[in-house]
Symmetry: C2
Subunit: 153 residues, 2 copies
Amino acid sequence: LIKPHAVKKTRVPGVTLHRLRRVHDPRGNLCVGEFAKDIPFLPRRFFMVFDVPNAKHRGEHAHKRCHQFLVCMAGSLSVQVKDGARSQIFHLKPQTEGVYVPPKVWCSQYNFRPGTVLLVFASAFYEASDYIRSYEDFVRFTARSGGTRVKKR
Amino acid sequence: LIKPHAVKKTRVPGVTLHRLRRVHDPRGNLCVGEFAKDIPFLPRRFFMVFDVPNAKHRGEHAHKRCHQFLVCMAGSLSVQVKDGARSQIFHLKPQTEGVYVPPKVWCSQYNFRPGTVLLVFASAFYEASDYIRSYEDFVRFTARSGGTRVKKR
């Protein structure tokens, strides 16, 4: 029994919501993704975010060149993406969904329920200079790199 | 505050136990691994195993060429590896540990506590012919490919 991989566009251009391929089995369920096929890139790095107090926000930055793919592994959380003009909030279903965040998109995660584990794949090794950590800088950067949709928050 | 990546040998040659790099933060904890550096290969595929009844076993096969890396994302489970002669059982600490399983090692997962999510990275796309699903075939295969340590279960 298999549900195929499915990709949906979102309100933020370039950001896509993925339903992962799913295999039901009496010995337990399995969800799977193949890199550079289902997931739009090959990862160089993965990280897990956990033990996040409910009031805290994670992320709150954009990348200049790095692509990311987020999966909620357990619990629940909200993910917000914005490109300066458009924004969308996702409440990711655990294990079965993922959101692809291309470079030059601002991304925050919040509303972590206790026990929540967020998994992130990144297309590049850690590099401090690839992070845009201020929203003002983000607006300036996307404007400079050809964004016409960008406006102030 | 950072704990560095650390790798330990195990009783099964080639199999290694990894403590992942850990970053403490008031906004929540983070564990990270870089592929082909901390983790011994670049993944082509990932899958998550969940909703496994406690009495069930998963895995119970070996790969001819595919490398795997297992991380317990939530809950707890046991992982057994064996090469025909030696075996070891791991109770993986969630999020902070991983076990690297090279090709030609038999691997089973069991004792899934409710809510457990197992994450597996694989170095190859899915290919049915890469799986050795019978322990008898595994013993024959490892003996043929130069294993001298192999004995019957």
